[in-house]
């Protein structure tokens, strides 16, 4: 489709929706519901007090369709269906027009070292056209609840979220992330990549003294993809680095004549496997229950490919080291490295407990143990001289990760006498078991020493929010501190103002305070990928 035509169609859809809404023609409740929103988000990056740069104007249409097509064992209230008590259809469409690719602001974007990496204006128009639209049925699933057995199924393209943590993931790993979306100003609901999966939930009820027990499991029969990454300058809010394959692929003078990575694998997209049940199945299972003391817990297990989106300084590529592989790569003019997404086993647990008597606080805990995460090992350099300082084989190691957190609604009456302030603090850790000194993280050829992997990485976060004016003004302040990497800090605020029930204005700012030099590609990206990325936000949302 021509870009102009796509834009016209998109505009037409928006106009039709607004007109339908004006006529109250869209049912918001009842067995069939059509709802959605139109959203325009503008981001201004201000790396310094006197520097401003437009980096995003993202216009998004979300359309949601809900249909209780089978209820009380009958289809459309008429035709009885044995075995099934109810069923629900859910569809979610997302269309995006990133006008910043048409506006193509000049100036320079900068990488993690502060080096200019070009601008949107410097990109060819066909590249910008290819980036500015998204048109996708993000989620499409059907829920089935059986009549005579305590079982329900969710079949289709969906998101599955487990665990207790906010904004950092451990047990929330069924869906990899699309990190070409903004990690701070776009919700995780938008960041996760929905996948075609089968999820089953069995309501157990009581197990001895335990109550509210259930077993939940999912199977992804091959749709899985790794975390999607975007580079600069194509994605000003993506990884703060240019694509490391630039200068390698293609004929001179822009490339070194390589056709791509080994065996046609593509960076952050496709490893050396097929996307079918035999080559790419993913599995997760958890059991949950509540103890007599009121502690809710889960025990979890995953057998999944490594997505690379939980902050770990893992190895996304493996240097080829065997003669057979090197010969094959040379024959096909492929870079002597392969993008990898190996299967790993993960065991984990989570729990929550609300202590009402002494602290009036909810405590949350989540922990996992990853078996065999891949790391770049400089003790295993590429035998190809050109790449011996840049490409390394991997060594796999286990990791222990966890989080403890609290949530406490707290009265601060001189600031708000009607609503409590919701305080939520989290502390995360990653521990690399048997770390070798030869491990390195993401590699920049110009500063190979910049990223020493730590055996321990930690971060603490705090969020405060409350309601004013009957819930129509919602301020939020958030803070993050990375004590391992030179005490890098993040502080941000947003203010949601409901001008009407359907029209919401959000303004906000975030600041990254990065006292340390040089920068590091550390786990939490406070002083690494987000260095110099203090930004201001204006978002307008019309919901219907």
């Amino acid at each position: 489709m021509k870009p102009g035509a796509a834009r016209r169609q998109w505009t037409l859809v928006a106009v039709v929706i607004l007109a339908a809404r004006a006529a109250n023609a869209l049912p918001a409740y009842g067995p069939m519901q059509v709802t959605g929103n139109l959203q325009s988000q503008t981001l201004i990056r201000n790396p310094d007090i006197d520097k401003y740069q437009l980096i995003q104007n993202r216009n998004t249409l979300r359309l949601r369709f809900d249909y209780d097509w089978l209820k009380d064992g009958k289809v459309i209230d008429k035709f009885p269906v044995p075995w099934i008590r109810s069923s629900h259809l859910y569809l979610l469409y997302r269309g995006v027009y990133d006008s910043v690719y048409d506006l193509a602001p000049g100036g320079n974007l900068h990488d993690i070292l502060g080096r200019p990496v070009g601008s949107l204006d410097s990109l060819p128009s066909n590249v910008r056209d290819g980036l500015k639209y998204e048109n996708v049925l993000r989620e499409a699933f059907i829920d089935v609840d059986f009549r005579d057995i305590p079982l329900s199924l969710r079949l289709g393209r969906q998101q599955i979220v487990w665990g207790e943590s906010d904004n950092f993931r451990m047990l929330d790993r069924a869906n990899p992330l699309d990190l070409t979306w903004h990690q701070l100003y776009e919700s995780w609901d938008d960041l996760r990549r929905p996948l075609w999966m089968i999820k089953a939930l069995w309501r157990i009820g009581y197990i001895g003294p335990l109550s509210d027990a259930f077993l939940e499991t999912y199977w992804d029969p091959g749709d899985w993809q790794p975390a999607k990454q975007g580079f600069m300058p194509e994605y000003p809010w993506g990884i703060s680095s240019t694509n490391p394959l630039n200068g390698l692929i293609g004929p001179p003078p822009t490339g070194l004549g390589y056709t791509g990575l080994f065996r046609g694998t593509t960076l952050f997209n496709q490893g050396d496997y097929t996307r079918n049940p035999g080559g790419n199945s993913q599995l997760g299972v958890r059991v949950s229950a509540v103890t007599p003391q009121g502690i809710q817990f889960t025990l979890n297990y995953f057998y999944q490919r490594w997505a690379g989106d939980d902050g770990t300084d893992y190895a996304p590529v493996r240097a080829l080291r065997t003669r057979a592989e090197l010969t094959e790569a040379a024959k096909n003019r492929q870079i002597p490295a392969v993008f990898i997404a190996p299967y790993i086993n993960t065991a984990g647990s989570s729990l929550n407990y609300s202590d009402e008597e002494y602290t009036q606080t909810v405590y949350r805990l989540e922990t996992i143990y990853d078996f065999g995460v891949p790391f770049s090992d400089t003790a295993k350099p590429s035998p190809v001289p050109l790449f011996k300082n840049q490409l390394f084989d991997i060594t796999r190691r286990d990791m222990w990760k966890g989080m403890i957190a609290f949530d406490r609604p707290t009265w601060i009456r001189f600031l708000n006498r009607n609503s409590t302030f919701f305080l939520s603090g989290q502390f995360f850790w990653h521990h690399l078991i048997h770390k070798e000194p030869s491990f390195i993280g993401n590699v920049d050829p110009e500063v190979p020493s910049q990223d020493t992997i730590h055996a321990w990485e930690t971060i603490a976060t705090l969020l405060v929010t409350t309601f004013y004016a009957g819930g129509s003004i919602v301020p939020t302040v958030s803070y993050g501190l990375d004590p391992v990497n030179t005490y890098n800090m993040y502080i941000g605020w947003t203010l949601d103002y409901f001008l009407t029930n359907d029209f919401i204005v959000r303004v906000g700012q975030n600041y990254f305070l990065t006292p340390g030099t040089p920068p590091a590609f550390e786990s939490w990206s406070l002083g690494g990928f987000n260095r110099g990325r203090s930004e201001s936000l204006v978002r307008l949302t019309y919901q219907f």
């Binding site: 918001a28 409740y29 709802t35 929103n37 949601r64 809900d66 009380d72 629900h88 859910y90 609840d145 305590p150 329900s152 998101q159 979220v161 487990w162 665990g163 906010d166 929330d172 919700s187 995780w188 609901d189 939930l201 309501r203 009820g205 109550s211 509210d212 259930f214 939940e216 949950s288 509540v290 009121g294 809710q296 929550n352 407990y353 609300s354 009402e356 009036q360 606080t361 909810v362 949530d407 609604p409 707290t410 009265w411 006498r417 009607n418 409590t420 409350t466 309601f467 004013y468 004016a469 009957g470 819930g471 129509s472 919602v474 029930n501 359907d502 919401i504 949302t541 919901q543 219907f544």
Partner: protein, 425 residues
């Protein structure tokens, strides 16, 4: 010798004041319409909070008192079991309770009088097996001095349901469901249908029979796509920032043991128990934050409650509880400076069916339908009103009493964390 006449005159005046209220006041008569212009004439027959509402646009149409007969099954259970019910020495626990009204005989000289009335309220009629209030709407907004309220946020919610585990009278198993956890009731609210930013939000709460056991609450949050545990202590916190708080539902929805109760008196007051309008009819003009309907004289207990919980929003609540039905007419809540802050008013409708629509449930006894309620913050001049059925209701039946899960559309296994996950979208 000093004359005794002034003393006698003062005594008579005081007695008259207690009996008939302030000078010039008289008992409202059927057919009277109470507006801001004549509100003071019934000042002693409503709470200070309701009086404030009348002065700010709410109108009452006075009707005759009509007796409400408590359902027969409840009366029978009271007769069968009440004699074995005891209040623990500290007044915080019921012993020997099975079903019905725990304390049918109220002695005004009983030192535990207030607690016994509140336990009667806790196990009041109508809410015995299950209860559903569905497809309801809520507005929250600013009160204007000369015009209708400015609605800031509007919500529609599919279900509010309660499943009671003990004291059951109608649906097997009774009088108690299998109950190893000693649950009093489970409560489900949601999913929110509109607005979109809250669509899908749903909560689940457990209330236990044993007072040592704190409530448990979980919330499904669509933006997180997962169920989150909530602290249940701050029940006086406003819900989503609007005017209502969890403890204020129905007048009071906290645990009886969480408050120190004091009996303030018994008197005749006005309450709306035979309202004519369902769907609700809001008052005209600036009074549209409240329902306009028929009010009638009712005999009420006036009870003061002071929270034992730390940081409770209110210094005290004053509950006005109908003696016949043990339902709250209205509740006034005071701030820590002792000033009236918020109030809750229930609109009740004692009938045997939700509407005249064919196919609605016809109950053998009158039920106490609740077409609307309002909670007003008189200090901020802000109000939240909620109602069902709405004018969009197709069935005419959005409130169900003791009909069982299949008919109510909320099965027992819907009151589980697992179901919150299953239904989360």
């Amino acid at each position: 010798m000093r004359s005794r006449r002034p003393f006698v005159a003062h005594l008579i005046a005081l007695l008259l004041l207690l009996v008939i209220g302030p000078a010039g006041a008289r008992a409202a008569a059927p057919g009277d319409v109470i507006t801001a212009a004549n509100a003071d004439s019934i000042a002693d027959q409503v709470s200070p909070g309701v009086l404030w509402c009348i002065h700010h646009g709410m109108n009452l149409t006075i009707g005759p008192y009509k007796r409400i007969v408590v359902p027969k099954a409840y009366t029978a259970a009271t007769e069968q079991h009440a004699s074995q019910v005891r209040l623990s020495d500290n007044g915080l626990r019921l012993e020997g309770y099975v079903a019905g009204l725990p304390f049918p005989s109220i002695d005004l000289n009983d030192p535990n009088l207030a607690s016994k009335i509140m336990w009667n309220y806790y196990y009041r009629p109508y809410f015995t097996d299950d209860y559903t209030w569905r497809n309801f709407a809520a507005d929250t907004g600013l009160l204007n001095p000369d015009a209708g309220m400015t609605v800031e946020r509007n919500y529609t919610v599919r279900d509010f349901g309660r499943l009671f585990y003990n004291g059951r009278l109608y649906v097997d198993p009774k009088p108690e469901l299998p109950n190893p956890e000693r649950i009093r009731y489970k409560e489900l609210t949601g999913p929110i249908l509109t607005p979109l930013d809250l669509k899908g939000v749903g909560s689940l709460s457990y209330r236990f029979i044993d007072i040592e056991e704190q409530d448990r609450t979980w919330l499904y949050t669509p933006t997180l796509r997962r169920v989150r545990r909530l602290s249940t202590t701050q029940r006086s916190d406003s819900v989503f920032g609007q005017d209502t708080d969890l403890d204020s539902y129905y007048g009071y929805s906290g645990n009886i043991a969480w408050m120190t109760w004091r009996f303030l008196g018994e008197k005749q007051m006005l309450g709306s128990f035979h309202s004519q309008h369902s769907p609700v009819e809001w008052c005209p003009g600036k009074g549209d934050f409240a329902f306009c309907d028929v009010w009638e004289p009712r005999q009420v207990y006036v009870i003061e409650g002071i929270s034992k919980l730390p940081q409770y929003a209110f210094s005290k609540r004053i509950l006005f509880i109908d003696k016949e039905t043990y339902s709250v007419l209205y509740m006034d809540a005071y701030d820590h400076a002792g000033e009236l802050w918020k109030l809750w008013i229930n609109q009740w409708r004692a009938v045997d069916r939700a509407s005249a629509n064919p196919g609605v449930t016809v109950y053998p006894d009158e039920q106490l339908f609740n077409p609307s309620f309002v909670m007003v913050d008189i200090q901020l001049r802000h109000a939240t009103r909620s109602w069902t059925p709405t004018k969009a209701s197709a069935s005419g039946e959005e409130e169900l009493f003791n009909v069982g899960g299949e008919k109510a559309g909320i099965l027992e296994d819907h009151y589980t964390v697992a179901h919150l996950i299953e239904a989360g979208r």
